[in-house]
Subunit: 136 residues, 4 copies
């Protein structure tokens, strides 16, 4: 993969009842939903429409690895800020760094590796052009 650092992309997430559990905090699996929402909005911002990509090319992104550290819990009604930063990009995969913030408190942080695959066979596919490594 080719190292590449991009500016952080930001996506707001509000915490509702559905997100919390009987411990009074956000259930740990749900942060992966927020990371996915933020990545989708980041892709949309870069001109990549996943519905069209699937319908026209039969290409989807799949998560290959997620490494998450849960530092502090989020709670009902919190308004969070979820970031995306592209840290590596290859021909058929990429890696992003994502953080969940509540104001200036760092709540959850993750590295996520994502592959680009054929929706039917799950075989690797070339990444959409806006995500391919730049040749200088």
């Amino acid at each position: 993969m080719n190292a590449l650092r991009s500016a952080d992309f930001h996506h707001p997430v509000r915490i509702y009842w559905e997100d919390t559990d009987a411990g009074g905090v956000v259930f740990y699996a749900n942060y992966l939903k927020y990371f996915e929402r933020a990545r989708t909005e980041w892709l949309r911002h870069r001109g990549i429409d996943q519905s069209a990509l699937r319908a026209q090319d039969g290409t989807v992104f799949v998560v290959a690895e997620s490494n998450v550290r849960y530092l502090r819990p989020a709670r009902l009604d919190d308004l969070l800020d979820v970031t995306v930063a592209l840290i590596e990009t290859g021909r058929a995969s990429m890696a992003v760094e994502q953080v969940v913030w509540r104001g200036d408190e760092r709540l959850v942080e993750a590295q996520v590796r994502i592959g680009c695959v054929d929706v039917a066979t799950f075989k690797p596919r070339r990444m959409p052009t806006p995500l391919l490594p730049q040749v200088h």
Copy 2:
């Protein structure tokens, strides 16, 4: 539709952290998941494999209407019993009555209307034979 009463089918559901919310009880939308799980097991028990139905016939079941009364809350670690009773059946739709029990306490009850449709067009499709109204 043709009135038809069948014996209740039972499906056990355990409540985990994912099911609860910060109010300390099961989040109301989640009961619809348990109703769906019970219907799927009831269909499987009648020899209807939804994966095969979709792959071979392009037919899926869709919920047209759900009327739910939440009588008492379920909580973490509860072991519930979810029932299915077929109350009406037509050529392209059916209605079931479903109840969530905790021992002999009735927690949640629902009537659910379900249609049989083409997965691509969402046009009505004939119900699988084991669910069609019986002619006497």
Copy 3:
């Protein structure tokens, strides 16, 4: 209950991968999440903070009944508009009418009855003042 018609409140909901199922559409239980999100924002708009209500008064809202009709499916990337209209209000409960729109297509519609209860005992509690029936 006291009949009372209020102007609709609107809340936007974007559909992500987490919301869809293998049928290619939004899973039916998830619309109840969107209805809850919209009600929470509607309460916030009326000055009712559910976190504070629970922490200070030990009062929470619970859904007593949800009657939902699923007219047309929502899909990945759809941007929906979810409405809330208060249709009845009593001393310890209320009823709202909610609709999910995609542009001018009516996708899902619901009537939801909500009670106000003590978080520990689930006994009825007086509704917060901004929701109480108006005396003329």
Copy 4:
């Protein structure tokens, strides 16, 4: 932490519509639900009742870190086997290794670090006795 290898614990998980997404496979965040279900059953098997632990001691388990590799996708109707193996245990935390199997196919694997905390303050708490490191 004190290295300690235990025999694997097994927990079955059936895949329903709620678990899948429009890509036709299980949504990646949902595997963290299955891992949690399996850990809860493993704790129950060891005599640890999380509801009682919270009600009587105000103690809850929280996930501090989850490192997950998604090797192959699970699909609708799959019957999976989720394992738990305790790999490290300390006074206020532990680490487990978990795998999702479909027959002899390894689908998803994870290391999860879990802390034991006070439900109100989230300060570390001593682990329940059945999980404490053994002194030889």
